[in-house]
């Protein structure tokens, strides 16, 4: 089965979707939707540094992503700017620095589009092992810090006061994110990984009544999107990565359409309770 490029793409895509679901929920809960983009921009700087110093690209991307994440955490604590402003600031700065560094190396030609969109159809058996093995490690860590990380997401002050050590778990969360982006960028591309982080989680919100449910539903929607997107790309001869993103978007649109999900809403037709008229005339 692994001999077939299409099956490899499916299995690799499922792997990314399973890891991205729960991580993406935290991204949304923490209002860090642009975190993925910031990391992907810093990934470019990672690529430039790797070429300059002749390092392994994935390792270099990972290190730069971790450094940028740490800077975000530091700035969040010190600066009086909100997270979205800081993310925008970091994203554009590292992108610019990356391009400047690349410009110094006139002898290097990099296919930036390759890093942006990746190619899920060219996944190798080794990539699959990396996605599933790495994914299992990331999910194991996430499961271990789930409770304190969630507490820190609800309220930093509350978590600190009650002994949850939010700084530590926040840091670990950032490292996990950086690892996921570094590993999956080369394989499926930055666009696909950031989309799979955000869109399935956003679509899951409507169907979930608890945080754990939302993470689970996000995984299911991610897997569905990969399946539909890849088959669609095969049928209509469209590019694979963007087709998956479009399928995820379709899931999101379906999730916003107001269909009566709960019986409670039928209570709308209840009569207003009448009081006996006891007024003194």
């Amino acid at each position: 089965m692994l001999d077939d490029f299409f099956s490899r793409a499916l299995i690799g895509g499922f792997g990314v979707a399973i890891v991205a679901g729960p991580l993406g929920c935290f991204i949304i809960w923490r209002r860090l939707a642009y975190f993925g983009d910031t990391l992907s921009h810093s990934a470019l700087l990672g690529v430039a540094i790797a070429l300059l110093l002749e390092l392994n690209i994935t390792l270099s991307v990972f290190i730069v992503s971790v450094v940028v994440s740490m800077m975000l955490v530091l700035l969040q604590k010190r600066a009086s700017l909100s997270s979205d402003a800081l993310l925008g600031l970091l994203a554009h700065s590292v992108l610019a620095i990356g391009l400047v560094v690349l410009a110094f190396m006139t002898w290097v030609r990099v296919d930036l589009m390759g890093f942006l969109f990746g190619d899920i159809l060219s996944i190798t058996a080794f990539d699959l092992a990396l996605i599933w093995g790495g994914g299992a490690v990331v999910l194991a860590f996430l499961a271990k810090i789930w409770k304190p990380l969630f507490a820190a997401t609800v309220s930093y002050d509350l978590a600190t006061a009650e002994g949850s050590r939010p700084d530590q778990v926040n840091l670990l969360f950032m490292v996990l994110m950086a690892a996921v982006i570094a590993v999956s960028m080369k394989i499926v591309g930055v666009l696909l990984i950031t989309a799979l982080l955000i869109i399935p989680a956003a679509a899951a919100r409507r169907f979930a009544r608890s945080p754990e449910q939302m993470a689970f539903v996000a995984v299911i929607i991610g897997i569905l999107s990969v399946f539909i997107g890849l088959n669609g790309s095969l049928g209509f001869d469209t590019p694979a990565g963007p087709s998956i993103v479009v399928a995820a978007l379709a899931c999101f649109v379906l999730s916003v359409i107001p269909i009566n999900l709960s019986r409670k809403r039928n209570g709308r037709n209840q009569e207003i309770p009448k009081h006996n008229d006891n007024r003194v005339s």
Partner: protein
């Protein structure tokens, strides 16, 4: 000793928000912080909890202190599906019996399956309290706990605070605007205005000049009025019973600790 601050201060945006705060909270003690808006009450509470670290002075806490915090304000992200029972288990592992008990005493049993985002202000505040008392904390910090709670709820809450203190021997740091409450249940009052203006027993604070300056003569007289109820009792003929401890007849324990009488007194005042 659960928590102690020694000459602690917080410096932010080029000024001292609080400075030179010294206080302790022991097990089974209710300490109340009062002071005008912006006087650093919440900041002092965060210092005591370790949410903020002191820029000056020392803040000490008992090792592995089991603390619970009801912040003045908690804004939840709308993207977060969060049922009440899950919120209660935010930093705790509690079983269903404990959760039911906490919801029962805060009169929120009917909200167990509700989403936090659908609660009214008062319901939210009650659920916050349920969460705080869930697993018998050693140290409880309540920052304006009665905001948005109706009058019956307020009475319930004050009874609850006293019960918790008595049954769990829990140390409580309370921030309150309700000066009557301050008088009735508190062991120690700390009056803040960027620094400790005055502190001590409620009676001592109420009669101090600093307190009158800070809150005005009227507030002070309100407290004095309350103190009247608290301190001594009038016998039917109008003479004064010297001390509650001397009481031999009609020895009702619920009356020696301030209980329902307080609320009646409170009602009268209002």
């Amino acid at each position: 000793m659960l928590v102690s601050l020694e000459n602690a201060g917080i410096f932010r945006s080029e000024k001292w928000i609080v400075r030179g705060v010294s206080m302790t909270v022991d097990a089974g003690e209710i300490v109340t912080l009062i002071g005008p808006n912006g006087s650093g009450k919440s900041t002092t509470a965060k210092l005591a909890l370790g949410v903020l670290s002191a820029d000056e002075g020392v803040a000490k806490r008992k090792h592995r202190l089991h603390a619970k915090y009801v912040p003045q304000k908690l804004t939840l992200n709308n993207n977060l599906p969060l049922p009440v029972t899950r919120f209660l288990r935010l930093t705790d592992t509690a079983d269903k019996a404990q959760i039911d008990a906490a919801l029962r005493v805060t009169d929120t049993e009917h909200l167990a399956d509700a989403q936090m985002s659908n609660l009214s202000g008062g319901e939210f505040q009650r659920v916050m309290l349920a969460r705080a008392i869930l697993s018998s904390p050693e140290f409880l910090v309540l920052d304006e706990p009665v905001q948005g709670i109706d009058y019956n709820g307020e009475i319930m809450l004050y009874k609850l605070i006293e019960n918790i203190r008595n049954s769990l021997n829990c140390g409580i740091l309370l921030i309150s605007h309700d000066l009557h409450m301050v008088m009735s249940k508190t062991d120690r009052v700390i009056c803040l205005n960027g620094h400790v203006c005055c502190s001590g027993t409620p009676a001592k604070v109420a009669s101090s000049e600093e307190f009158k300056l800070l809150f005005g003569e009227r507030a002070a007289s309100g407290l004095a009025l309350y103190e009247h109820h608290h301190d001594h009792e009038h016998l039917p003929d109008g003479s004064i019973k010297v001390s509650e401890r001397d009481q031999t007849q009609n020895n009702d324990p619920s009356k020696s600790l301030v209980s329902n009488d307080v609320y009646k007194a409170n009602l009268d005042v209002r």
